[in-house]
């Protein structure tokens, strides 16, 4: 009963505009002080341990940093050029290329809003020039952008892995097939719509353009290879080379070198005001100044800022988790559910509903920290695979991001496209239907998520 009150306080605080982190933290602290023996000092300790005691979460700042270096306009532009070269000649080509570009960019960044901003700001304008309606363009980018948290690396997956002690590597692998499937479903839908409505198609630019654009984008796309090979090793040759956290740090350093010394969109070698980029030979001292250049500092600061706001939420969600565990809430809910005779299917539906509603109000990472420990033991008791559960949760978050009133991607797209949130939502609705069908597939066909990790890393050992 008191716990019910706790959640009411959280929602109340959220609605009057208290930051998510403080709403979670304050209500948990009040609850702990009123109903348990925990002291404020132990809360401070929990807060500090949120960072110091979670090696897995350490991957978050590094993935954010890598994607900040890669989020410069130049990299998105190169990826879009490559995507257009590949599929631009199909009916609805530019729209399909937009989805493909979102998929590739999602693999460089772990965040959906970042994907929408980077790809959307270029593709939506380009589609309008080609004669697509603004609504169609915004609807596609809004949906495809959500792939950012499904296609690895994904910050939300790191948080899930940390909250439930499953392997980050497994979660990343599990996202690959669903990610490709969701992208393909979106592209097929566009293709059919394009056939029916006779939407414009681009010209086939030849294999030369595919090769040239690939060579140009390759430095950026190689980041994915470094992360994946680092975490899993080269099949048949080596075992894992890095932990996911180390892979993220190596990826950050790599992204820094590519952004400063190869692409030169930023840093000491960038052309000022659209001028030509400078070669390293002309300015060799850039090897030193590159590390301290204003652009480098700016990127580090931006990534640091995002890390701070995310981790502030996660740390407070961990305080709430402490409350829930102390009160044995997960066990109580599990017992209630099992005694009513909920089977696997009913349970998964309940999880879907909780997350769809929760996703309306909460930042995805914070929601995972709170919901995962509650549903995880029940899932194990019912024989649901932990990896499968993780993917279901991520896909639910995706849908939560594009449903009003508080869908994150709706806001971002509405800002990028200059349309009202409701208009973006109406535009996104047909493709939202596709994602919904996808959610049902992912929920009831576990092998979509579990096949690849089992193939690469062997069968999973579940410790109850």
């Amino acid at each position: 009963m008191e716990v019910f009150l706790l959640f009411l306080v959280i929602i109340g605080l959220l609605l009057i505009g208290v930051p998510i982190a403080v709403a979670l933290g304050l209500s948990s602290i009040l609850f702990l002080l009123a109903y348990s023996d925990a002291s404020l000092a132990s809360v401070a300790q929990t807060f500090y341990q949120a960072m110091e005691g979670h090696y897995t979460l350490l991957a978050i700042p590094f993935f954010i940093l890598a994607s900040s270096f890669m989020s410069t306009g130049g990299v998105a532009q190169r990826i879009i050029r490559f995507a257009i070269a590949c599929v631009g000649h199909l009916p609805g080509g530019l729209a399909i290329a937009g989805v493909l570009a979102c998929m590739m960019f999602a693999a460089l960044s772990g965040s959906s809003p970042a994907t929408v901003v980077a790809i959307g700001s270029i593709v939506i304008a380009a589609m309008r020039q080609m004669g697509y309606s603004k609504d169609f363009a915004a609807g596609i980018i809004c949906n495809a952008g959500t792939l950012g948290i499904l296609i690895p690396p994904s910050i939300v997956m790191v948080v899930y892995a940390s909250a439930t002690d499953v392997s980050v590597g497994r979660m990343f692998l599990a996202g690959v097939i669903p990610g490709l499937l969701a992208g393909t479903m979106l592209m097929l839908t566009i293709y059919v719509i394009a056939k029916v409505r006779n939407l414009p198609r681009g010209e086939w630019l030849g294999w030369g353009e595919i090769w040239a654009s690939f060579a140009d984008a390759a430095w950026g796309l190689l980041l994915i290879v470094i992360i994946m090979v680092g975490i899993y090793g080269i099949p048949g040759l080596t075992g894992a080379i890095f932990t996911p956290t180390e892979a993220a740090a190596v990826a950050s350093i790599y992204a820094f070198f590519i952004a400063i010394f190869v692409y030169r969109d930023m840093g000491p070698l960038a052309g000022k005001n659209g001028g030509r980029r400078i070669s390293l030979l002309q300015n060799p001292k850039a090897l030193i100044t590159g590390f301290f250049h204003a652009d480098t500092r700016r990127t580090l600061y931006d990534a640091g800022k995002l890390t701070i706001t995310l981790m502030f939420i996660i740390a407070n969600a961990l305080i709430l988790k402490q409350v829930l565990t102390e009160q044995q809430i997960p066990q109580a809910i599990a017992e209630a559910m099992l005694s009513v005779g909920f089977g696997k299917i009913m349970f998964l539906i309940v999880v879907n509903v909780i997350l769809l509603i929760g996703g309306q109000f909460m930042e995805p990472s914070g929601l995972i920290v709170i919901v995962a420990p509650i549903v995880f033991p029940i899932a194990l008791a019912l024989g649901v695979d932990p990896i499968h559960l993780g993917i279901i949760m991520v896909v639910n978050m995706e849908i939560g991001m594009i449903t009003p009133p508080v869908g994150l991607n709706l806001f971002v797209t509405s800002g990028v496209a200059g349309m009202s949130v409701m208009r973006v939502f109406r535009a996104a609705l047909p493709f939202l239907g596709v994602l919904f069908a996808f959610l049902i597939m992912v929920t009831y066909i576990p092998i979509l998520s579990t096949w690849l990790p089992t193939q690469v890393m062997g069968p999973e050992i579940i410790i109850k």
């Binding site: 959220l14 930051p19 002080l33 600061y301 701070i308 800002g415």
Partner: protein, 229 residues
């Protein structure tokens, strides 16, 4: 990347503090990345490692976040739900914003007490009494100044701590008083920034404490470009 800056320092001192905060955040994250990377290189290239590497990185991670919370409040970067508050205007909107500031202040004050109570024994100092708010000094606090970190070596310039808090006994590793010191500093800064934010709310210099999503700056930049085109 460099979005339009919403925060503009009002005095030379505030400007200096702001650039210190920005540079500290960049430097801490940069150091974390480089140390982790160097450790990977050492492991594969030279079959050795900085044994203290991981512990230092995790400490810096905690410092980054705890130090940065107040900064993020200052520049209004924390995420929240603005669907309801955006429906309000004028007086009611201000009232609700002030209520949310009061909630944040309560949170900060409670955690400041918690941080002090957690840190003080490691500094050979005294905890406060009282469950909710400090009511006095607990002279019976058990001294924990002898606790050290697991691997981090003791830097020479901190040797004075031995005389100050450890009865002159030599520290062979960095004492825990150092990593945890960021807790009281961070939350004291948070209380200070929240008092400032509340004053700004009262004087109508700011409207709320939150943004609705992490990409707000970047989106504004793109929207500005769209208007220009």
């Amino acid at each position: 990347m460099s979005g339009p800056e919403k925060y503009a320092p009002k005095s030379a001192l505030a400007g200096a503090m702001h650039s210190f905060e920005v540079n500290a955040i960049a430097l801490i994250l940069g150091a974390m990345t480089v140390i982790t990377f160097v450790n990977v290189v050492l492991r594969y290239g030279f079959n050795s490692s900085l044994i203290w590497g991981l512990e230092v990185v995790l400490m810096l991670f905690a410092w980054l976040v705890i130090f940065g919370i107040s900064h993020a409040f200052k520049i209004t970067a924390h995420l929240g739900v603005d669907a309801v508050t955006n429906l309000l205007k004028g007086g009611p909107k201000k009232l609700v914003a002030l209520a949310s500031a009061a909630a944040c202040l309560l949170y900060a004050v409670l955690l400041l007490k918690g941080s002090w109570d957690y840190w003080a024994p490691f500094a050979g100092s005294y905890q406060t009494t009282g469950r909710w708010f400090p009511t006095g000094i607990d002279w019976g606090t058990r001294d924990r100044a002898f606790y050290v970190t697991e691997q981090i070596p003791m830097p020479g310039f901190l040797r004075f701590l031995e005389g100050w808090i450890n009865q002159g006994e030599v520290y062979d590793k960095l004492p825990r008083v150092v990593p945890y010191v960021m807790l009281p500093i961070g939350f004291a800064l948070l209380v200070w920034r929240l008092v400032q934010a509340t004053v700004d709310l009262v004087r109508d210099r700011r409207e709320s404490l939150i943004v609705s999503h992490e990409a707000e700056d970047a989106v504004e930049e793109v929207a500005a470009l769209n208007r220009g085109a």
